[in-house]
């Protein structure tokens, strides 16, 4: 990197906002997908949108790629630095700028953590709905990039449903406002595309989010089933009964054992547990909860525990949320997969995973958002055994093909990033990816904003073509233009 470029970076963000030192850069060389690493030329820690604009403009002038990073909790390598590029860390832009309870809005900077918003407004009986498992540490900027969900998105939707507007720096350095605190801002819904674009279109410097009022009543039950199929039947019957629970989570025997070893939630020792949460007005929850309980019992539930207070609910949720980390108790290493299948295909896909488990010789734990078909198979392996890590990765990859074949998706919440970009052509055709590139090229024609992510093969954008007339030979199908 040109020394004058570095000097200019330091001038923009101040000397303490620039990280050059090789040992300090180590912190930033990966996100939570730790096996992929890349060292950036420099890390900048801006404190304002203007700083971000100036850094982006400088990068654009010099043709230097840049990558935005929140708190580095991403699981698909979306914030993996580009070698010799600039990493723009947004952790210092971490203020909650405004809270408007009567209108149920909050304006936050991208480095604010997800849970901080809820903490700030809890005293008013309000909360911020998307609740990814990492909500204690993950940033809103990262949530916007990944369109994060969580256990409660079955009923309440994803980040895209809760972000009303953003201020963002485009790859040309322009500052734009998309959406806003008021609904229906005129124009194209570019906000709907930026959310979930994995930092490839713009850098969000401010967001207006929607707050919700806490439901009057929350009820939760934990039901043990003799088989995954029986638990799956209960979920189907709940949905068929016209009930949309706030959350429906399922765990299998291996993940139950792991959670028990780690946080002792006192789950029944069965082949499957189902956690069902309903919320809403007391009159509605009371009536529907009785139906859910009946459905669970009719589907063969051997145990049904109903949480009567917050402490009991917290204990059950802790068992569920600890499932990932708890796998460390039963296996030296594990690989977390994230795929989605239509809910009606869950039993079929789970059977295929069972067969794969038997065939591969690796244990596979299953914990998933049963309401929306989002699977998180945990593939256990021992990195000390030569070749087993690679084997686990292959097994994880095979599960993704099951998801695609079942008409699902290669990622429900962790994103494509670097990790899954090779699978995009399995889920989408060339035309589909080209149509997405149209958006990409409109925002980032020179390809400097988080390049190498989401899409399998980088493409050059080229200029917007001028008036074009098809040659008669082309029209006749006798020639192609290259």
């Amino acid at each position: 990197m040109d020394p004058s470029f570095r000097t200019e970076l330091a001038r923009i963000v101040g000397p303490d906002g620039l990280i050059n030192d090789a040992s300090d850069l180590l912190t930033y060389e990966s996100d939570a997908l730790t096996h992929l690493r890349s060292t950036p030329a420099a890390v900048v820690l801006p404190t304002s949108a203007e700083d971000v604009q100036n850094v982006v403009r400088l990068c654009r002038r010099h043709g230097v790629p840049f990558v935005a990073r929140g708190h580095g909790t991403g699981l698909s390598g979306g914030a993996l630095p580009v070698k010799d590029g600039v990493l723009i860390g947004l952790s210092r832009m971490n203020r909650i700028l405004d809270v408007d309870i009567p209108n149920l809005r909050a304006v936050v900077e991208p480095g604010v953590t997800n849970l901080e918003i809820t903490k700030r407004v809890a005293a008013y009986g309000c909360y911020y709905a998307p609740d990814p498992s990492s909500q204690v540490v993950c940033s809103i900027g990262g949530n916007i990039a990944e369109n994060s969900g969580g256990a409660h998105c079955l009923k309440y939707g994803f980040t895209v449903h809760h972000v009303l507007g953003v201020e963002a720096v485009l790859p040309n350095g322009d500052l734009v406002h998309l959406g806003g605190s008021v609904l229906d801002t005129p124009g194209l819904d570019l906000l709907g595309v930026i959310v979930g674009s994995e930092g490839t279109l713009a850098i969000v410097t401010k967001a207006t989010v929607r707050l919700l009022r806490r439901a009057e009543k929350v009820m939760l039950l934990l039901a043990g089933f003799p088989s995954i199929d029986a638990a799956g039947q209960a979920v189907s019957d709940i949905i068929a009964g016209g009930i949309v629970p706030a959350a429906v989570e399922m765990m299998d025997r291996l993940t139950i054992e792991a959670a028990e070893a780690a946080v002792h939630p006192n789950f029944p020792k069965t082949d499957a547990v189902l956690i069902v949460e309903l919320d809403g007005p007391a009159s509605e929850v009371d009536e529907l909860f009785a139906i859910v309980e009946t459905i669970c019992r009719k589907s063969g539930a051997t145990t049904v525990e109903i949480a009567h207070d917050q402490a009991q609910r917290d204990r059950i949720w802790k068992g569920r949320k600890a499932a990932f980390a708890a796998m460390g108790r039963v296996s030296p290493n594990y690989y977390v997969q994230d795929g989605v299948v239509p809910r009606t295909k869950l039993p079929h896909v789970l059977r295929r995973i069972r067969d794969l488990e038997a065939r591969s010789g690796l244990r596979i734990g299953n914990v998933f958002h049963a309401g929306d078909g989002n699977l998180h198979p945990l593939i256990c392996y021992d990195a000390a055994i030569p070749g087993q890590a690679e084997h686990a990765e292959k097994v994880a990859a095979e599960i993704l093909t099951y998801c695609i074949e079942a008409g699902g998706a290669i990622t429900g919440e962790h994103g494509v990033g670097v990790d899954k970009k090779g699978y995009m052509p399995k889920m989408f055709g060339e035309h589909d990816l080209d149509a997405m590139q149209l958006v990409r090229c409109a925002f980032d024609p020179t390809g400097i904003c988080n390049p190498g992510k989401v899409f399998p093969t980088p493409r050059l954008c080229g200029e917007v073509p001028g008036p074009y007339r098809q040659h008669p030979l082309e029209r006749a199908g006798l020639a192609e233009r290259f």
Partner: protein, 374 residues
Amino acid sequence: MPPQIYEPADAPAVAAVLQAAAVDRLGVFVRGAATKIAPPPCDVILSTAKLTPAVDHVAGDLVATLPAGMPLDQANEVLRRERQWLPLDPPRGHRATIGGIIAANDSGPRRHRFGAPRDLIIGIEVALVDGRVAKAGGRVVKNVAGYDLSKLMCGSFGTLAVVTSATFKLSPVAPFSQTVVATVSDLRKLSDLALAISAAPVTPTAIELQSPPHRLLVRFETTEGSAAAQTKRASEICGQHGATTGIVTGQAEADAWRAHESRIFSGAGTVVKVAVLPTDVGEMLSLIQQLTADVEVGISGRAALGIVLVRLGGDAGTHEPIVDALRAAAAARRGSVVTRGDFGSLGDAEPIMRAVKARFDPQHVLNAGLTPWG
């Protein structure tokens, strides 16, 4: 010369029409049921009327793929066989097509609970002007693979591509419905009442204001027992705000909602959409009252969402200054005013909107002149 009319029957045929038009630099207007806009001067009218293959409904997954040319009510008739529906109730739902509703991101009173098309859409198929057909999203509710072009198409007014089908998440049909009709003496009070109800532990599917007479319609769609309990609670809040209340259900309720829709969307006049913060609705209502003292006016809107719809009747020459005054007042409150054909300012996002349009439709074939971004 009158425009040529094409009615392609599938997505590749739509794409072929677009490609041919692009080659010959013809202007294409995309038409659904024409419930919102009449075709402007153009070379080609591309009608979606024949894009009506069967609804692909997977009840167990609570999703359905719907063809662009199908009227909403017809699609919902199919979905209701499994006690599900696409929870959108835009005006003229018996005619308005799925494609048109997506293009305009149109919704109705139940947006209060269920959101707009962009909140419900999970996948899309579009025909592009380069002659290709592309898909985005999928048929599962949870999916973060690739850019969400479905949302981009919502509210794009057919300027980027032609939607040929779309997949939505659905809702169960509630077993019971009833509506509290609260009448107040002062228009502005409707806003206070709406805010009070939205802050209470009740979950209405609509909180709709109406004038004249000054009424709030609060709809509950849930179990019969819960509807009764929530209605009681809402009625108490209405009483505390000095409103007189009645409750309608069954046919009377259906009639009340139909009449509500028609006060804005039938008859001549200028329909104005005002968007402000929910707490600014009261002030905007007062202003509307002042400005329209001598004009025939109908008001409705999603009171707790900050959306107010105004139909100005009578002499059309008097409408422009009213719209201008409302626009200035809304802008001062970070809001917006949109009328048919007049979007107002796009702010600092206009260049990037134009850039997106230029990539999708470089020759400006699609719906040229309809929107300020192209």
